[in-house]
Symmetry: C2
Subunit: 370 residues, 2 copies
Amino acid sequence: MITETHIVQFDSIALDCGSKLAPVDVAYETYGELNARKNNAVLVLHAFSGDAHAAGTDQSTGAIGWWDSMIGPGKGFDTDKYFVISSNILGGCRGTSGPGSINPETGCPYAMSFPPVTIPDMVRLQKMLTEHLGIERLLAVSGGSMGAMQALQWALAYPDAVAASIPIAGTARHSPQQIAFNEVGRQAIMADLDWNEGDYYGKRPPARGLAVARMVGHITYMSDESMREKFGRRLRDQDQFEVESYLRYRGSQFVDRFDANSYLYITKAMDYFDLTAGRPSLSAAFDGVKSRFLVISFSSDWLYPSYQSLDIVRALRGRNCDVAYCDLPSTYGHDAFLVHVSDQAELVRGFLASTFRERASSEQAVRGRS
Amino acid sequence: MITETHIVQFDSIALDCGSKLAPVDVAYETYGELNARKNNAVLVLHAFSGDAHAAGTDQSTGAIGWWDSMIGPGKGFDTDKYFVISSNILGGCRGTSGPGSINPETGCPYAMSFPPVTIPDMVRLQKMLTEHLGIERLLAVSGGSMGAMQALQWALAYPDAVAASIPIAGTARHSPQQIAFNEVGRQAIMADLDWNEGDYYGKRPPARGLAVARMVGHITYMSDESMREKFGRRLRDQDQFEVESYLRYRGSQFVDRFDANSYLYITKAMDYFDLTAGRPSLSAAFDGVKSRFLVISFSSDWLYPSYQSLDIVRALRGRNCDVAYCDLPSTYGHDAFLVHVSDQAELVRGFLASTFRERASSEQAVRGRS
């Protein structure tokens, strides 16, 4: 499957902070075919550092998509049956407007003058994209980690536009520990003199700080057990353990593909996301929700622990929502949703098929009546 | 209890790396009285960032010792009964020789020319200190975290010089996850341009890097649950969560009392400590050990998880050593050994008392025979 990233530009988007961003670009890819009834579209939602290239092989770089194990012919998101859409989030740095984009008023990158963005803002832009693609109602939205937050927000904000939501390894709001790890990353970036208050475009980026931030991230994505299996106490050379060399490599590699200011903006959006804010309970957030849910967590995920998924499930059940939940056994930690996908794919496949059948039969009933 | 830190200087110490450090200073404090038979001495061993000031109120600064909850009249280490010694570790920055000390050959701080130090080196210097204080055999050695590593090393290296060892919340060797967190701290320091290859004495120290390193540390010292209890998602102000403000404060405060190069040296000593190295098993490490053991871990400690203490207990039992083990229930994470001490104090009190009784009666038997 050879793929290509497209960019669509919209005139403007209204943001939660009260400002308007104009114009706004969205980078996206699609896989499979939209059927005539336009009822087989699935939107996948990437995690913190992902991009629009979710599946297949990029035609110019040869890079494999970040969820290629889950998306394709016969896979969990079966592109023989479904039309899969993936887009880069607002505030990102992989084609969609973000702090590195040019501010038309100044002709320079926004940098820290880019308006603060929220998870609801990101989802609002995705809604504009799906409408642009001619889709009124999605069969499903799904993502892991920050993608799970978006999947929840979709069901809340656009109850008539999504038949099913599949939040994986996510949460309805960050714990102080999750905020703390993000804050360490932000402080590492801002401690780098090259950060220069965010004004480094065309100059040297804060590569050392961003690499340290990424190293912290990678520790939290793995489990104690998976690190023992992968690295043990093996030495790379006399002065370096394998695990140190791995983290340094991952840190330095990240600098080539990610913008430090996007790191700041996106982690803030995650930290401020809170479905209970201004509501008496998490259950109250799901008043008016119409979609079905499949919630998935992983037993060894300590960054987004299973109890956070269970909180979501409990809240949905409190509103009598249609929710299936599975805590999958895995040693891979948070990374499991990306690397340990066989059980996950099976669950998603079955859930999508039953959602599609239900939807088709209810649409037929509506047509019968009219 | 008003206390004072003393410094003793020795001509030299031979190090595991093959070099000699000459001269070498040791900062130490003592609490309680050494009895006439000199059989009531207990050495407490500090964790990564501790110092000699373990208990009481420092006469000049008014600072309270880091284990004041455990050491004092009627406390776990009862100074009405025992003579408690605490010293700053080799490589540290609180009075004992370390990278910030003056190299007599150059008249300048050693900085990165300070020889690499190991946990056995630290313990060797402590042995010199206890001999200097006229103590041939310690009643007990005890410490948490890195202090636990030293407590194990004491029992191995000087089987005739220690009657009991109490390693708390420790390990016989670092896991890759523990190495990884230390490596992030090191990289954060070295990413700070003010680090200047370690040559910053008399100039601006790498304060931003060291603060980031400390922030990571503090996350690992607490548990997910204790952070939720302490901070929740409360905001300090519109742009800052309580947990962020706490971590920033702790980070910036650390810079005033800790030397970044000591951070590098001490974390390396921890990472390279491995009682299984060159041995067929951990049990084999305990061949020839003569002391009793009380091993303590805490249920919510994810930095030094209970399974690491259990590994030690199993290995000791494999050599038929006298070992008691307790996994104490606590929500405080790794910090529990410092802050959640009532059960711990009770265990230590009973264990020390029985060790003292046994020792006194065996000494009496020896005297009876002679």
